[in-house]
């Protein structure tokens, strides 16, 4: 079983990329589980015809975890992809990080973490220990960073490199950086910049996904691009990403950049 996690700045397109990746993986005949690890709970929506599925944390709050079973928390969406949303507290209260940890414990108890591929779609910033949970022993061993060529997006990706580096230094950790996915904003020389960033943090750009209006068209139709427009060039990009991830053997411990180096890198490609 392959377990991968997508991290990146908030709003950069992690959920869109994750849902299309899961769709493309399922198109290869693989059994896929996608877990949204964000209190915003919208990771799997495009796989569920726009439906916000009940989150694990909501169900725990309403019924208590003793009354739950596997079928309560796992929902089957497009092409048999199993979908889970961790959920969490309302904005501004409680501890969302602990919610992620609790969700993982419940999923483990139910034996939900099975299949050919598990895709973890994680909150933008690794703000506390809880959001590093998907990177811990026994969960995602391959981390993919989703970033555009914008400095703030690269900055967030660089921060996540720090988290991966820290976790990778633990004795039993198998967590490694699998690569960088460029989800382009459409700025000039963006592909070159992200590719160079990936190289400098001791990784590689695994896929360039250009900006394409079809993504928005699919979204307003509550579908992934793979489902909405399977013959589009954009769908090919996602299928290519799926193939490269399945064939990827280059797992590295990242070397995050200092902020000055990051800024001068961005300046080179302006």
């Amino acid at each position: 079983m392959k377990q991968i996690a997508l991290y990146g700045k908030g709003g950069i397109g992690k959920s869109t990329t994750s849902a299309n990746l899961s769709s493309a993986l399922s198109g290869r005949g693989l059994s896929v589980l996608q877990i949204g690890c964000d209190p915003k709970r919208d990771s799997t929506r495009m796989l569920m015809q726009g439906r916000f599925i009940p989150t694990v944390m909501d169900l725990v709050r309403e019924r208590g975890d003793a009354a739950l079973s596997l079928s309560d928390v796992v929902f089957t969406g497009y092409n048999g992809i199993r979908c889970v949303e961790a959920g969490g507290p309302e904005p501004g209260v409680g501890c969302a990080g602990r919610g992620i940890i609790a969700t993982f414990q419940i999923l483990e108890k139910f034996g939900a973490l099975e299949g050919d591929v598990i895709v973890y779609d994680v909150l933008g910033d690794v703000v506390c220990g809880g959001f590093a949970m998907p990177m811990r022993e026994g969960y995602a061993q391959e981390i993919y960073l989703v970033t555009s060529g914008e400095l703030m997006s690269l900055y967030a990706a660089n921060n996540i490199c720090k988290a991966v580096q820290r976790l990778a230094s633990r004795a039993k950790s198998k967590c490694r950086l699998g690569g960088v996915i460029c989800n382009a904003k459409g700025q000039p020389r963006e592909e070159e910049l992200v590719s160079e960033f990936a190289r400098r943090v001791n990784s590689a750009m695994i896929q360039y996904i250009p900006r394409d209006h079809v993504v928005q068209q699919a979204e307003v139709n509550r579908q992934t691009v793979i489902e909405y427009s399977p013959d589009s060039a954009q769908a090919d990009h996602y299928r290519s990403l799926a193939q490269r991830i399945m064939e990827n053997t280059r797992m590295t411990i990242p070397t995050p950049l200092e902020i000055d180096d990051l800024e001068s890198l961005a300046r080179e490609f302006i």
Binding site: V60, R61, E90, V93, G94, C95, R98
Partner: protein
């Protein structure tokens, strides 16, 4: 933000901030203390209070309620759980509710003060007591006393003395109080309020009426300052320790109250001399002072006492190890002398 510069810090004497606060609030007889945290935070403290109260022949359980937080409360925030606990407690026959926070609720950012500020029909007083914010047992005591002081309004000075911050968990808490009250009576002074030891909530209103506050120990100076600011009451920073400490205490109290204390001091001095004469069998005995857990004023009082008794302290060879405890006033000093005699003749 607090931090521990020494990650191997092995101090075991700082104590839990929560315990310090409970040792105060649980002494308001007709109030309930809610501990907003996991059940274990309460259990540990109830056991401790129960045991120490039993030692002082006070065989009732403290009025403590736990919000009994679980993981769900932590993830979703536990303000609603606290609100329910307060409402439940407010429905009982109590005059006030004190709400003590714990490490975990401060970590997840529960707004305890805001929940307490809602309307429940009786006063609900929050006391910040999360230990990881840098507090010790003493900070818990101080935080609780300051929070309780805020419930008392200004009132007319009627004279009398407040006893501030008695160590409610110490074995000799009643004896120490009795001794201080006796010393005050030598000057014709009476106690206005024991703040806080076995009182009712309504009695807190008398806090501002005293002409002088006597603190149990200098760790309570922040409380003394708050009371001075709020009610204009001066304070003496400590109970008296040892022989000369007791005499100077009488002088200081007399001075603060504008009384001529000379007669009281002379009388007490005679009493001390008679007492020392009764322990002349200890003279010239080899001894060492065991002050592992003692404070500076306790050590000074013990050293003075050893000199007055002509004990031979610190000589090489076999000696008796004498326990140094809080010798509050002349009577407290006599109790310590009895312990020393038992150690020497053991």
């Amino acid at each position: 933000m607090t931090s521990n510069p020494l990650p191997v810090n092995s101090s075991r004497l700082g104590g839990c901030t929560l315990t310090g606060a409970i040792s105060v609030t649980s002494h308001v007889r007709d109030a309930v203390t809610i501990i907003h945290g996991p059940a274990g935070c309460s259990h540990h403290n109830v056991s401790l209070l129960h045991a120490s109260w039993l030692d002082n022949d006070h065989a009732i359980l403290p009025e403590l309620v736990s919000t009994g937080l679980s993981e769900t409360d932590i993830v979703f925030g536990s303000e609603e759980t606290l609100r329910k606990s307060i409402r439940h407690a407010a429905g009982r026959d109590v005059r006030a509710i004190f709400v003590l926070s714990t490490c975990i609720v401060e970590t997840i950012g529960d707004d305890v003060a805001a929940v307490c500020a809602e309307e429940y029909g009786i006063p609900v007083v929050p006391v910040p007591t999360a230990g990881f914010l840098g507090g010790t047992f003493h900070d818990g005591v101080n935080n609780a006393l300051i929070a309780l002081a805020a419930t008392a309004g200004p009132c007319r000075k009627t004279g009398g003395i407040n006893i501030i911050g008695e160590m409610n968990l110490e074995y000799e808490v009643e004896e120490n109080y009795t001794e201080v009250a006796r010393l005050l009576s030598l000057l014709g002074l009476t106690v206005n309020l024991r703040f806080v030891h076995d009182i009712s909530y309504d009695q807190l209103a008398r806090l501002g009426a005293a002409q002088l506050n006597i603190l149990r120990s200098p760790a309570l100076v922040p409380v003394g300052e708050v009371l001075k600011e709020r009610f204009g009451t001066p304070y003496i920073p400590s109970f008296p320790h040892g022989l000369s400490g007791t005499l100077s205490f009488i002088r200081t109290v007399a001075g603060a109250c504008g009384i001529d204390g000379q007669e009281a001091v002379s009388g007490e001095c005679v009493r001390q001399e008679e007492m020392i004469a009764g322990f002349s069998d200890l003279a010239n005995k080899p001894a060492s002072l065991d002050h592992t857990l003692s404070g500076a004023e306790e050590i000074l009082a013990a050293e003075e006492l050893a000199a007055v008794l002509d004990l031979v302290v610190g000589a090489p060879g076999k000696s008796s190890r004498l326990p140094v405890s809080a010798a509050i006033g002349t009577v407290g000093t006599r109790r310590m002398l009895h312990r020393w005699r038992r150690a020497i003749h053991a």
